[in-house]
């Protein structure tokens, strides 16, 4: 039984993003996101019989997050509930789980939710409000050697890529600049009003070499939810259905420093076969971009260019507005907001529907979405379309 086109994304709910303190914790953002997604679909909460939650980094104390969120939303009689965590690959993986449940008759209408609130309000003692300290963890020997946080781990992998393939800061910068151009046309992007040249990129401070500040995602407060339902039902709802043509996961295991390959080749094989598409059918891509480097590797791993040639591939601006392969058309996690795997999913929905305004890509019928978690550890793929 193929699941191709059986289900669709029928609603999208997105709270304010970034340094906003509209809610005291992630749960508040999650509730608001689900409410917005239901409104967007033209549904009420009574329609929901499934709830999947990807807890962000600040939910650690909450071991039954989907039940907690059910209670906060006042939902009754759910038939599907789970907290899922594959890091940044979770958003698309939740959508897959929802599709499988709907296609098998276990549920009809499933909300998939991500929310997080790692940023603290500015206090009199610290002029903060922008700290990403939650991602700076370390313990034991790593801390003794000064190895803190996810940035530093990805930097090791990026350095290997530079060493083996000659990838340069200019290459990484080209990705940051291209996404900033997209963000400059996205009113919801945190860097909407801030243009950036390659020179600006090089002048931005180092976080951990080889990463400048603008190689790293914008850790944000916010919530995002999508409503997944059958394609039959989605056709009768308020918004144009975003059909789910293909889905796949890939989790290679081992040490990414040795391979410099994500799980994309594995996930792509499943997803593209289900969707019945080839790479040349992909009109634009929303790729997980915790770092510029992640985009570069992901482009290679889907086969847009051979392994090791991601740098030259992006250098000519083909992923920027007006380019032949639009990538991360809302500015992505680098220039818009970091909501783990929900950032690429949300922008894909907006674009496929044709709701992207000034940044609308001209061809928006077939979109590739990727999610990536850990240090190139987990991967998920969706092929989304305006038609079945």
């Amino acid at each position: 039984m193929s699941l191709r086109g059986k289900c669709a994304i029928a609603g999208l709910g997105q709270t304010r993003m970034g340094k906003n303190f509209d809610h005291p914790n992630a749960m508040g953002f999650a509730v608001e996101a689900v409410k917005l997604a239901l409104d967007d679909a033209g549904l009420t909460r009574d329609a929901l019989d499934g709830l999947l939650v990807n807890p962000g980094i600040t939910w650690s104390e909450n071991q039954m997050a989907s039940f907690s969120l059910q209670q906060a939303l006042g939902l009754r009689n759910l038939r599907l509930s789970a907290m899922m965590n594959l890091g940044g690959a979770t958003a698309a993986a939740m959508i897959m789980h929802a599709v499988q449940a709907i296609a098998s008759g276990m549920a009809t209408t499933v909300a998939c939710v991500f929310a997080d609130a790692p940023l603290r309000p500015p206090s009199p003692r610290k002029n903060g409000g922008g700290s990403a300290a939650a991602y700076g963890f370390a313990r034991g020997l790593n801390a003794a050697y000064g190895l803190f946080g996810v940035n530093a781990q990805y930097a090791f992998v990026a350095r290997r890529h530079m060493h083996l393939y000659g990838t340069t800061s200019d290459h990484l910068g080209a990705i940051a600049v291209a996404q900033r151009k997209w963000a400059n046309m996205n009113p919801a992007a945190q860097f909407c009003d801030t243009p950036m040249t390659l020179d600006d990129y090089h002048k931005s401070r180092w976080v951990v070499e080889p990463f400048h500040l603008y190689d790293c995602c914008l850790v944000s407060n916010g919530g995002l939810a999508v409503i997944v339902t059958s394609s039959e039902r989605a056709k009768d709802l308020k918004k144009p259905p975003v059909y789910i043509l293909g889905m796949g996961q890939g989790h290679p295991g081992g040490d990414p420093m040795d391979t410099l390959v994500s799980g994309a080749p594995i996930a792509k094989e499943t997803a593209f076969a289900m969707a019945g598409v080839e790479l040349s059918d992909i009109q634009f891509a929303e790729l997980y971009d915790c770092y510029t480097f992640t985009v570069l590797v992901t482009l290679e791993d889907y086969g847009f260019c051979p392994k090791g040639e991601g740098g030259p591939f992006v250098a000519d601006g083909k992923t920027a507005p007006g380019g032949s392969l639009p990538v991360n058309t809302g500015g992505g996690q680098l220039s818009s907001f970091y909501m783990w795997g929900m950032t690429p999913v949300a922008e894909a929905v907006v674009q496929v529907r044709g709701e992207a305004g000034a940044r609308q890509v001209p061809r928006h019928d077939v979109c590739l979405v990727s999610g990536n978690g850990g240090i190139l550890s987990t991967h998920s793929t969706l092929v989304l379309s305006s038609r079945v």
Binding site: Y145, V207, M257
Partner: protein
């Protein structure tokens, strides 16, 4: 992790000797770099794990390795995540691939961060932190 403070400085984080690292730190105090060796398949590993990911055997012992290897990768930390490193940024953290194949995260002494290169030959040295804790670090060595 404990922290010692003095009026002038905050110390770097000092690792605690957890049971799985007792032999590692005992070796470091003696001037030996120790890694785990699976008694089922002979594969070396570090950090310590209860079970061998290669053959799933739980039997393991600690063995000394040469302490020689090459820089596999490195980064240069500019952000201060712990006050103990405030006076050191920018500093490098290296991934050393030991000649025996195991990777070991550490620091490289006797070289400026921006002079570090992947593939550079290195050898272990031992930096005594206190009576209990000695940290293996590395320094450049002449290449073969």
């Amino acid at each position: 992790m404990s922290e010692q403070t003095s009026p002038a400085t905050v110390s770097k984080p000092i690792p605690s000797i957890t049971p799985d690292l007792a032999e590692f730190f005992a070796g470091a105090r003696r001037g030996e770099l120790m890694v785990q060796k699976c008694e089922g398949c002979g594969v070396l590993r570090f950090p310590a794990h209860e079970t061998c990911a290669n053959c799933l055997d739980r039997r393991a012992k600690w063995v000394p390795v040469s302490g020689r290897g090459t820089v596999y990768s490195f980064n240069i930390m500019h952000q201060v995540y712990h006050p103990g490193f405030a006076g050191e940024v920018p500093y490098a953290v290296v991934v050393v691939q030991l000649d025996e194949g195991v990777k070991f995260i550490s620091n490289l002494v006797g070289i400026k961060p921006h002079d570090i290169r992947c593939g550079m030959p290195v050898e272990v040295i031992f930096e005594k932190i206190n009576e209990e804790i000695t940290l293996p670090k590395f320094r450049p060595r002449a290449g073969s």
